[in-house]
C-alpha cells in the first residue's frame, strides 16, 4: 500500500495541480469526502467547493468548479470544469462577479436566476477559498 497520494487536478484550460500529498478532502455532490492513501476505488461527481489537501505539515486549498473525482489506491484525479489554487484566485474579480450575480438575481427570470445563482456560488466559494489561505 502506498503511503502517499498523487493528486492531479486538470481542467480544459490545463493542469492546475499535480503533486504528492498526504490527504485530500474534496466537495462531492453527496457531501464532502476525505481520501487517505489506500482508499477503495471510487468515482464521484463534484460540486462547486473547496478542495483541501495536506502535505507534510502544511495545508493547501483549491477552488473546484464541479466535475468528477476518480480515486484509486494511491491517486486522486480531479476533472473540473475550472479550478484555481487559492494563491491564484483573483479576489477582486470574484467580488465583482458576486455583485453582478446578486443584481441579476433580483430580476425575476427563472433561467437567469439559476445561472446567476451558480455564478454567485462560484464567486462566494472563490472568495472563501482565498480567505482560507489567508488572503483577501
Amino acid at each position: 500500500m502506498a503511503d502517499k497520494l498523487t493528486l492531479d487536478i486538470v481542467t480544459p484550460y490545463g493542469s492546475v495541480f499535480s503533486d504528492d500529498v498526504d490527504e485530500v478532502v474534496a466537495p462531492g455532490t453527496e457531501g464532502e469526502f476525505g481520501v487517505l492513501p489506500g482508499h477503495v476505488p471510487f468515482i464521484t461527481t463534484l460540486n462547486i467547493g473547496i478542495l483541501t489537501y495536506k502535505k507534510g505539515g502544511s495545508t493547501g486549498y483549491v477552488f473546484v468548479n464541479s466535475g468528477y473525482a476518480e480515486v484509486t489506491d494511491d491517486r486522486v484525479l480531479i476533472l473540473a470544469d475550472s479550478a484555481e489554487k487559492a494563491e491564484d484566485i483573483d479576489v477582486e474579480r470574484a467580488k465583482a462577479a458576486m455583485k453582478r450575480a446578486e443584481e441579476r438575481m433580483k430580476k425575476q427570470d427563472e433561467i437567469d436566476f439559476a445561472r446567476a445563482q451558480a455564478a454567485l456560488q462560484r464567486a462566494v466559494t472563490r472568495i472563501e477559498t482565498a480567505k482560507k489561505a489567508g488572503r483577501g
Binding site: D8, V10, T11, P12, Y13, G14, S15, G28, T29, E30, F33, V40, P41, F42, I43, T44, T45, Y68, E70, T72, L77, L79, D81, S82
Partner: protein, 290 residues
C-alpha cells in the same frame, strides 16, 4: 510601354502590400502559438476523461444512455467548421468541399441531411447557394472558450435526443503541423463504444460510485462530447492561423519577386530613356556642327 512613373508607382504599391502580408504573417504566428498552447493545455483533461470513461464503460450496459445507442438513421446532421475571416489559403474551401462531398454522399445513400455551420465562411457559402441551415454559429474566431463549445455541444445533444437527427458528423481542419492541415470527418453522435481495456486493468478497477454509476455516467458522457467539440474548435483555430501564416508567407515572397521584376523593368526603362536622351543630345550636337 509603361512610363517610369507608372512602374515606380506599381513598385510602391506592391511594397506596401508586402508590408501588410508580412505583418499579417507575424500576427498569425503569434496567434498560432497561443492556439497551440491551448490545445496542449486541453490534452491532459481530454486524455483523463477518456480514462475515466473507459474505466466506466466496462460494467455499464450499452443501453443505459441514449447518446450511446445507435438508432436507424433517417436524418444526418453535418456540422461544418470554418473560420470567420479569409486570407488563409485553401483552409476554408477545403473543409467546405469535404463537407459538401459528405452531404452529397449521404444524400445519394438516401438520408435526409440537415446542415449547421460554425464560422462565417461556411455560412456565406451555403447562404449564397440558398441552402437552408439548421443552426449557425459565428463570431467564435479568436475567442473560443470552453463555454462556447458547451453551447454547441448542448445544442447538438438536445436535437439528437429529440430526434431532429439521428447522427452527427463534424467536418473540420485538424492541426497536423504548421505547414499541414488535414480535413477530418468526425462522428460525434451517437458516441462510439469506448474501447475495452486489457484484462489486467479491468481487474484492478472495481469502483464505488457516488451518487450512482448511472448519474456519473450521465454527466460524464455529455462532457466527453463537449470536449470533442472544444478540441475541434481549438484544432481548427490553430489550423486557420497556420494556414494564414503559410498563405501570407507565400504572398510576401511573391510580392518580393514582383518587386524584383518591376525594379528590373524600371531600371531598363530608365536606361532606355537615358540612352534616348543621350541620342537626342548627340544628334542635336551633330546637327549644330553641320
Amino acid at each position: 510601354m509603361a512610363t517610369l512613373r507608372d512602374i515606380k508607382r506599381r513598385i510602391n504599391s506592391v511594397k506596401s502590400t508586402a508590408k501588410i502580408t508580412r505583418a499579417m504573417k507575424m500576427v498569425s504566428a503569434a496567434k498560432l502559438r497561443r492556439a497551440q498552447e491551448r490545445m496542449f493545455a486541453l490534452r491532459p483533461y481530454a486524455e483523463k476523461i477518456g480514462e475515466v470513461l473507459s474505466s466506466l464503460s466496462q460494467p455499464v450496459e450499452q443501453d443505459i444512455h441514449p447518446l450511446l445507442m445507435p438508432r436507424p438513421r433517417k436524418t444526418v446532421e453535418v456540422l461544418i467548421l470554418t473560420s470567420d475571416k479569409g486570407l488563409c489559403g485553401a483552409f476554408n474551401s477545403n473543409v467546405i468541399k469535404a463537407g459538401v462531398n459528405l452531404i452529397n454522399r449521404l444524400k445519394s445513400e438516401g438520408f435526409e441531411v440537415s446542415i449547421s455551420t460554425i464560422g462565417r465562411k461556411a455560412r456565406d457559402y451555403f447562404k449564397r447557394r440558398g441552402v437552408e441551415l439548421r443552426e449557425v454559429w459565428t463570431g467564435l474566431s479568436g475567442k473560443i472558450t470552453y463555454s462556447s463549445a458547451q453551447d454547441i455541444a448542448r445544442n447538438l445533444m438536445e436535437h439528437y435526443m429529440d430526434e431532429t437527427f439521428d447522427e452527427v458528423h463534424l467536418v473540420y481542419n485538424e492541426f497536423k503541423t504548421v505547414v499541414a492541415q488535414k480535413v477530418v470527418e468526425l462522428k460525434l453522435l451517437p458516441i462510439a463504444p469506448v474501447e475495452h481495456e486489457t484484462e489486467k486493468e479491468k481487474e484492478m478497477k472495481d469502483f464505488l460510485f457516488e451518487p450512482s454509476e448511472e448519474e456519473v455516467f450521465n454527466r460524464l458522457l455529455p462532457k466527453s462530447i463537449e470536449i470533442l467539440v472544444y478540441r475541434a474548435l481549438l484544432e481548427s483555430q490553430a489550423s486557420e492561423e497556420a494556414a494564414r501564416m503559410t498563405a501570407m508567407e507565400n504572398a510576401t515572397t511573391n510580392a518580393e519577386d514582383m518587386i524584383d521584376r518591376l525594379t528590373l523593368e524600371y531600371n531598363k526603362a530608365r536606361q532606355a530613356s537615358i540612352t534616348k536622351e543621350l541620342m537626342d543630345i548627340v544628334g542635336g550636337a551633330e546637327a549644330l556642327k553641320e
